[in-house]
Amino acid sequence: MLRFRTDLPLDRDTTARFLPWIIGFMVYLAMIAATVALLVDHVTQRWQRDLSGQLTVELPGIAGEDAAQRQQRVDAAMEEITDTNGVVGTRLLDETEVKRLLQPWLGDQADQLGVTLPDLVAVSLQPGIRPNLSELAERLQNVSPGAAIDDHAQFNAGALNFLRTIEVLALSLLALVLVATAGVVAFVARAGLSIHRRIVEIVHLVGAHDSYVARQFQAQAFRYGFMGAFIGSLLAAATLLSAGVFAARGAAPMSAAVKAFEPWMVWPLALIPLAAVLIAMITVRIAVLQALRRMAY
């Protein structure tokens, strides 16, 4: 496969024999790292968009208040919220939903604790319009003392920070893998040059430019890079498909992220094997030309 006529018997080098597998492994790691970075970025953006479009208003119960008074207070608060610029919808969460939300803190027997559960209002915001929350909070205090607005900013910031860290780590791994690939390829090229020094001298003495010799190594780098890229892409595709299947069954960790995979993501991922081949060829050219300049012939 992909055989070129070369004056140097580069295929016989034991150091180069494992190059396709090494490049394949590097391409695999790079594709997985890039997939993680893409998914995390995508999920983060979507989450950011979703959360920035929502508020939760908590209306604590007032001691001694009967059901009618409570309903009147909640209605007044809902009216204040609805009248706020940028609010497109409000929904009062029913008791079951509130209990479910508080279940991690109060357990299943919240009724028996004698605690008055607050009323929670989920507020939907118009995209791109940020309501004046301090002004809303003031108005709510007048109709429902102790009302609190949660725009998820604190949780949002922490979670986004965590996701961005994962994304940066994945991108760093991707860069590291590409640099390591270049290093391995350069090492193999220099070893090949050293092994075939005698032949390189001969081709120089019969009139070859350094670039002629470099092209022979580039041809090998292209061939091995292509084989490695094929192997790595195949393994990465198999891994991602398996993750997709497990995620569909809800079994894989980060299944939400895996499910977020979209068809357009194939294109940036497809650039990685191509980049690996290009990096291998360019690295080889630079390494060989540098080494040749140090040779006497």
Partner: protein
């Protein structure tokens, strides 16, 4: 074509192998480079084919001072020089055909031309039936002929042969010399390094004799010798004048 002026050769920090070498090779001339083994014949040839830099003095090749040549200038100069190495320096994994085709491929000659010219030349040197043979399967003499074919395939302006008849019998040796003479008649400047005095004696070409690190010009045709170099500037001048005469002719 080639000018040496006070040239010295030294390997690393060792003593000078050659010193005060001055001579001129006129275009179209034929010289034997004679001397015992280890006298420095190969070193002198290396200086000419840009395989070695002089420790002192000036070397001019095709009218250019080699000390000011850049690395990127070397290939163009080397393509005008054909070299037959003493150890052949064939590429082991390439066939006789591919070894001979190497200078042409490097020069970017079309494959159709290569496939026409290379077998023709290999037939001429008696290797018609060994086109696809690897060097390891050929005898010493056959390898030498492949090396000679590689050196002459691109019709060089200057042909350097280092002990080209060392591995062949006298009959083939003489035939190879006739090949070099044919090339010489077509305008190629030829330098044949040898320690085979018997072979040298059969021809009347000028001789550059290396003794004790210096070069002495001997012209059997004129029955006169002249030592070249700083020690004998008169002889050098005479030879240079002769070289100029040949060049203008």
């Amino acid at each position: 074509m080639v000018l040496f002026d006070g040239v010295a050769v030294r390997y690393a920090a060792g003593p000078e192998v050659l010193r005060g070498i001055s001579f001129t090779l006129a275009p179209g001339s034929f010289h034997f480079l004679v001397g015992p083994s280890g006298a420095g014949k190969s070193s002198l040839l290396k200086l000419i084919y840009l395989g070695l830099r002089p420790a002192a003095g000036r070397v001019e090749l095709f009218g250019r001072d080699v000390s000011v040549l850049r690395r990127s200038d070397y290939p163009a100069m080397r393509r005008r020089i054909g070299v037959v190495f003493q150890d052949f320096r064939l590429i082991e994994h390439l066939s006789a055909m591919d070894n001979v085709a190497l200078p042409l491929r490097i020069a970017g000659v079309r494959e159709t031309d290569i496939k026409r010219h290379v077998p023709e030349l290999l037939s001429w040197v008696g290797l018609k039936h060994h086109l696809d043979a690897l060097p390891a399967t050929l005898s010493g003499g056959q390898q030498q002929r492949v090396a000679i074919a590689r050196a002459v395939i691109s019709r060089p302006s200057l042909l350097l042969a280092d002990e080209p008849t060392g591995n062949v019998d006298d009959q083939i040796g003489v035939r190879l010399m006739y090949l070099f003479e044919e090339l010489n008649k077509m305008g190629t400047t030829v330098v044949v390094a040898t320690h085979n005095e018997g072979l040298v004696g059969r021809f009347t070409h000028r001789q550059l004799r290396i003794t004790q690190g210096t070069v002495k010009l001997v012209d059997p045709g004129a029955q006169a010798g002249a030592e070249t170099g700083a020690a004998d500037e008169h002889s050098e001048a005479s030879y240079a004048a002769e070289a100029e005469r040949q060049e203008s002719a």
